[in-house]
């Protein structure tokens, strides 16, 4: 069975303990934070196991390459500490179950993976994707299953992710462009953390878009919008890709508004909070987040995750901020007219 590689010594020698110190949902000083992480490592009880809201951020805060959130998840599962109501966890696990209903495009050595996000079947079109489409996969068979860390369930990941890796392997692909952070992080962060081997090169769609936009530079019409970026939890698992947002925006003539909740301080979209904890936390986070977008003069809210978009699109639209996915924004910038989801 796959076991998490977690280096206790990295924690012991850590001087900042940012994993918990920077947490937006818990208050820890450095020393207490270290004590708590070490308790968790040893398998002792810790308030963190009860209080963590699964925002994934500690994976980014830890700059030493350890995996605090994966550890918390492991321990929660071992102790049977539920994050979400049982029905919610069950529903998510059922949704992701492979049922033989996947879709394959015309598979080449390089493919685009839509994971299990059907929206990409509509939006991934046009010149940006000309070189590779319709070389794509979609469906539960290619769904990374990382989302179950929200539900403190790594066993389902350990069971399914190797099958997903095997499904990619069967396609004999050399390079996979992942259209969602979680999928990308599955193969660049989580799988390695559990010692799973990945037989292909993983590319984040940010990088893919950035390169294509550079190639299509002559066709770009600067959009000159003021946009706020809704950074998803899953980008914390692949924080090294975050800079591409700014890079891409610069290329397409977008003014990314400076806001309180950006970068490491970004706020969750609230959808998981809502399902797990009900009204208050989700409402608080969403209200602060959208207030912040509005106060900083955003005309658009750009999304990198359709889960966030589903949670926030209507809410930002009510404030007069137009919701749009990054893929669609990039298509607009080269003069295309994507069919956009209406909030």
């Amino acid at each position: 069975m796959f076991a998490l590689k977690f280096d206790e010594n990295l924690c012991k020698s850590c001087t900042t303990c940012d994993c918990l110190v920077k947490c937006q949902y818990m208050n820890f000083e450095t020393n207490d934070a270290k004590v708590e992480m070490l308790k968790i490592f040893k398998g002792d009880d810790s308030s963190v196991l009860q209080d963590c809201v699964t925002c994934y951020s500690c994976e980014e805060y830890c700059k030493r390459g350890n995996h605090p959130f994966y550890l918390i998840t492991e321990r929660r599962q071992e102790k049977g500490i539920l994050t979400a109501p049982r029905a919610i966890t069950r529903q998510w696990i059922n949704i992701g179950e492979p049922r033989g209903k996947y879709e394959l495009g015309e598979i080449k050595e390089k493919i685009l993976s839509f994971g299990f996000m059907p929206q990409f079947l509509q939006s991934v079109q046009g010149k940006l994707f000309d070189d590779d489409m319709p070389s794509y996969v979609f469906g539960q068979e290619f769904f990374c299953n990382v989302v179950y860390i929200h539900f403190a369930d790594t066993s389902i990941i350990k069971q399914r992710l190797p099958m997903v890796i095997d499904n990619f392997k069967k396609l004999r692909v050399k390079e996979v462009v992942f259209m969602h952070d979680e999928c990308y992080a599955a193969f660049t962060s989580l799988a390695p953390a559990y010692g799973m081997e990945i037989p292909f090169k993983s590319v984040h769609y940010f990088e893919y878009l950035y390169e294509r936009l550079q190639e299509l530079r002559d066709e770009i019409r600067p959009l000159n919008y003021r946009v706020a970026y809704q950074r998803p939890c899953s980008n914390r698992l692949c924080a090294d890709t975050h800079h591409f947002v700014e890079d891409i925006m610069k290329l397409i003539g977008i003014d990314l508004v400076q806001r309180t909740y950006e970068g490491e301080n970004a706020l969750c979209c609230g959808s998981i909070f809502r399902a797990m904890y009900g009204y208050e936390l989700a409402n608080d986070v969403q209200t602060r987040n959208i207030d912040d977008m509005e106060e900083n003069g955003a005309e658009y809210c750009i999304f990198n995750c359709h889960g966030c978009q589903n949670a926030l699109a209507a809410k930002v639209a009510k404030r007069g901020i137009k919701p749009i996915h990054i893929v669609e924004l990039c298509r607009l910038a080269i003069g295309e007219k994507p069919d956009m989801e209406v909030a």
């Binding site: 029905a87 069950r90 949670a311 989801e341």
Partner: protein, 460 residues
């Protein structure tokens, strides 16, 4: 029969009478599982006066008359069990009056729920009625006559509770007005403060008279609606959840459903909660109240609010819900039927378990659905099975499963809703004998010749 056809032709016009095999075939069955029985003829009247004449003719010839709307009860209530004349009411499609201030509408007997919805949306945007989830063809009158339920039943009871007046053609051929309209130009009450005579017709399936007009109450229509789905992994939590939700008095409607497919619904119980508001603030306030009402379930991890994607939301917010009909295609077979007892909500867990058991026993695809009626006073629980019309084995299994569900529901304290004739017999056997005598007396007096939808509520 040819004389009757000629006489009926004189009443409604020859093009609106048929005794051709095609109409006798079609009007001799409904989409459910009850055995077919051909009528002798089908007529399509335009006015109450024509119906009076048809009834008088039927009395003189001693032939049955069976009124029919869209024939969507699924339980065979419009199948002419003893032949006779099927009266398809759908040409009587006038919306006669909307009283905006007193919030009621008077419709003719064949007005569809779809037409009334469209009419109100266009002409009275601040008014609504309790739209059932039967197809839009279902008529308003048939729906109230079978004690249907709809989007407003959680707030105001059975759709028949919302009736505020009736016009009925009696078996004598006379027209009788029921409620305030019997002495007032205004159709605001079906009974009170008079003796409430509407019970002589509502729930009788045409066995005591033919409703040619009905007034139903209209209700404030808020500008916005939204929906949330609270899910739980155990049916045992459902009564408590409903108790809390109804306590808020913030909810438009509550439906519960469980079904094995698609996977997103597998193994969970779903409480669909609708709510309305005139402003964002009102809607948000209600949402907050609804969420907080269920905090204890969330805290104990016994349930939570699932994310409702925009497509699913659209489907749920639709009125009538077209997706309700598509259940008929789950086995690619064009049919579903349910046994739908009215029963107290605390019996939800046992009904849900029974449905699981029956589906496994008879190898059927199922759907459990419950609609809350009143502030938790009772619910309609549907033991619903979809079947393939072309698979006779499956039809038999479905009939057996429904029969068993019916027996179970009755034992559990339920009362059949829109019962098939078989269920009517089961109900009659169990009923208090004095109640039965009273029903008998009513039937005998209102239909001395036994020609009004005979076979239904037939008390031996």
């Amino acid at each position: 029969m040819s004389d009757i056809i000629r006489l009926l032709s004189e009443i409604v016009g020859p093009q609106f009478v048929s005794n051709q095999p095609e109409e006798l075939y079609f009007y001799g069955r409904d989409p459910g599982l009850m055995s077919a029985h051909k009528p002798d003829c089908v007529v399509l009247p335009k006015t109450a006066e024509e119906i009076q004449e048809i009834v008088r003719l039927a009395v003189s010839e001693k032939i049955p008359v069976v009124p029919m709307g869209a024939g969507m009860s699924l339980s065979g209530l419009v199948i002419p069990l003893q032949g006779g004349i099927v009266i398809d009411m759908k040409r009587m499609d006038r919306i006669i009056e909307v009283n905006e201030n007193a919030r009621y509408v008077i419709v003719e007997g064949g007005v569809s729920t779809g037409l009334l919805k469209a009419y109100l949306d266009r002409n009275h945007p601040r008014l609504r009625f309790s739209i059932p989830d039967s197809p839009a063809t279902a008529t308003v009158v048939a729906n109230v006559m079978i004690h249907g339920q709809g989007r407003l039943s959680q707030q105001y009871g059975f759709n028949s509770d919302m009736v505020s007046g009736l016009e009925v053609v009696l078996a004598s051929g006379d027209i009788c007005k029921i409620g305030s309209c019997s002495l007032s130009p205004d159709w605001f009450s079906k009974g009170a403060p008079l003796p409430d005579l509407s019970g002589l017709f509502l729930g009788w399936f045409g066995a005591t008279g033919i409703i040619t007009k009905a007034a139903i109450k209209l209700y404030p229509k808020k500008k916005m609606r939204d929906v949330e789905i609270f899910i739980t992994d155990s049916e045992d939590f459902i009564p408590g959840i409903i108790y809390e939700l109804t306590h808020t008095e913030m909810v438009e409607d509550i439906n519960v459903f469980a079904q094995p497919l698609p996977m997103i619904f597998k193994d969970n119980q779903h409480v669909v909660i609708y709510y309305t508001g005139d402003t964002d603030e009102e809607l948000e306030f209600k949402r907050k109240m609804i969420f907080h009402a269920l905090d204890r379930f969330i805290k104990n991890k016994d349930g939570g609010f699932m994310s409702v994607a925009s497509g699913m939301k659209e489907t749920l917010l639709e009125m009538p819900q077209r997706s309700a009909s598509t259940f008929a295609d789950v086995t690619k077979g064009g049919g579903f039927e349910y046994s739908g007892p009215i029963i107290v909500i605390e019996k939800y867990p046992q009904c849900a378990r029974k449905l699981d058991e029956l589906a496994a026993k008879y190898d059927l695809k199922y759907h459990a659905t419950a609609r809350v009626i009143g502030r938790g006073h009772c619910m309609m629980f549907a033991f619903s099975f979809t079947f393939n019309r072309a698979d006779s084995g499956m039809l038999d299994r479905t009939r057996q499963a429904l029969h068993e569900a019916g027996e179970y529901a009755l034992r559990a304290g339920g009362v059949f809703w829109k019962p098939t004739v078989d269920e009517q017999k089961m109900a009659i056997e169990k009923m208090d004998p004095h109640t039965l005598d009273l029903m008998k007396m009513i039937k005998k007096n209102l239909d001395p010749n036994g020609i009004m939808n005979p076979g239904n509520w037939e008390v031996a």
